[in-house]
Symmetry: C2
Subunit: 311 residues, 2 copies
């Protein structure tokens, strides 16, 4: 059994997008085993347990990931993750990966796959609501698939947005007011908000939205009117209903699971698609265990390892 430490070393983001796309295609075809992630509530946060089996890539395993908003004050990341990979022939654990940064990357890659298939434009202005680690991961992954002609970013703390914009060297990036950031081609929301941040009237037809931040019951970032105006695609139906962007509108009776346009997997395999160019599409991302397996396969080719005796 190997422990993989430096798992993001020399990872090719384009390859990550491709393997994540394969995982979504398998999900769309019903080829994977993936029960909805399980939540355990701890005193100051929670942790989620995510097992899956992805036969086409011969990968099985479990990701364990926490969310503790108070951690930065202790010098620790809010989100930390381990992925355990099992040998599919014998069930033996063969690898344990530090999956903290991989979690950022695989979520970014899902956003890139959604943008590639659902954006009506190939040259885009990217709007970022929230400018933390996940905003960067989304930007880096999406720019592998589409031609980013400019970035407009906003954060509740404008210093964070300005720092983010300065750090982007490959593209023209600017910190702008919230409403201006929503005037874009692809809008990516990555905040931990429990109240809608993005108002429907700020978003023009033809925009594609990656709604990434809502990943637990009670969280939401979008005006529910946006869900009504656009087509909503989810990564996984039970997870999205439980904890995705749509969870609050569904629990309030404003939106119903029957209004979901389809899954990203169904989009990738061509079963579902954007209806017309001048319409809003929304990708509601909760994060799938099969994404963690797919990126683990790449990380295991690059990481530094420590040999662990087992069994």
């Amino acid at each position: 059994m190997q422990y993989y430490t430096d798992t993001t070393k020399s990872i090719d983001l384009k390859e990550v997008n491709q393997l994540i796309e394969t995982a979504f295609a398998d999900h769309g075809r019903g080829f994977v085993q993936m029960p909805p992630k399980m939540y355990i509530t701890l005193p100051e946060g929670d942790f989620r347990t995510m097992p899956a089996y992805l036969p086409s890539l011969s990968l099985a395993g479990v990701k364990i990931v926490n969310v503790h908003p108070g951690n930065p004050a202790r010098g620790l990341p809010t989100v930390m993750a381990l992925t355990i990979i099992l040998d599919i022939a014998t069930g033996a654990p063969v690898a344990i990966l530090n999956a903290t940064k991989l979690t950022d990357m695989r979520t970014g890659a899902a956003g890139a796959v959604a943008a590639k298939y659902l954006s009506p434009k190939k040259e885009i202005i990217l709007g970022l609501i929230g400018t933390g680690r996940q905003a960067e991961a989304q930007y880096r992954a999406i720019s592998q698939e589409l031609d980013v002609s400019g970035i407009k970013c906003w954060s509740r703390n404008s210093l964070h947005a300005e720092k983010f914009a300065l750090a982007v060297t490959e593209h023209d990036a600017r910190s702008v007011p919230l409403e201006k950031a929503c005037d874009c081609d692809i809008l990516v929301t990555t905040t931990p908000s429990r109240l809608p941040v993005v108002r429907s009237e700020w978003v023009k037809e033809g925009t594609h939205i990656n709604a990434i931040g809502a990943d637990a019951p009670g969280k939401q970032e979008l005006d529910p009117l946006l869900l009504k105006r656009g087509q909503v695609f989810v990564d996984d139906l039970p997870q999205a209903v439980h904890s995705g962007e749509i969870n609050v509108p569904i629990s309030r009776g404003i939106f119903t699971p029957g209004e979901i346009a389809g899954t990203l997997g169904e989009v990738v395999i061509g079963m579902k698609k954007r209806k017309k160019a001048d319409q809003i599409t929304i990708f509601d991302s909760t994060g799938l265990a099969i994404q963690d397996l797919a990126i683990a396969a790449i990380a295991m080719r690059n990481g530094q390892t420590i040999d662990l005796p087992f069994p």
Copy 2:
């Protein structure tokens, strides 16, 4: 983060029983978080993912355990397990334990707690149906709680039973025919059977049965008439209905969840008990994630460790 290798070194079985009893008491009081274990089917076996939080012992984590019956032919154990322990304050993974032998021990300890509370006798003849690793774990754990005056064991392969009997040095142990092994005070079944092995007419009133082997849908070891004659206690209601000794009789309509007498946790805290001495009691064990957390706490005091960089 530490990896614990030699986790069973100098573990005190009596202390394991005590901590497992505490975990069951907390379960009986509703103090724990423990979703039912999740099963993923692999080509030649399966693996189960078991997260839990046991606040009274400040323990949170996940066990991952496989069952691959063909493994011994490859020189690997059928069952292998890892337990990951998280810091409850920050959610950070702090320990990874080789939990293969710990899994045997914590299952044995649950059997010992059940026997301690449900056996009407304190000096007992122990009957063992199946003589593998778990039979030994049950015997060693039970003998911490009750006075074992003799052991009668049976295995489908009589050579295995004879070898087991010879290896027991502290007590009088004999390999006997199946029916004779059932004539005892505490009967422990640890086979992977999918058809009943123990017939009702072979078991006398007053016997306590630990039904350990059935841990997946389709498995069963006991004549369903035994469930009807006796009081059935389970470790956890949803898990037992899904995959315990009662799963096949329930799916066939022979037994209903309403006939369950209670949980072992309820027995430990005095809410439920054996009705009368001359009656059969059955403990249906599926194995709980809180047992894995409890024994991890002991193992982490004794094991050899390898330091792993994280995050």
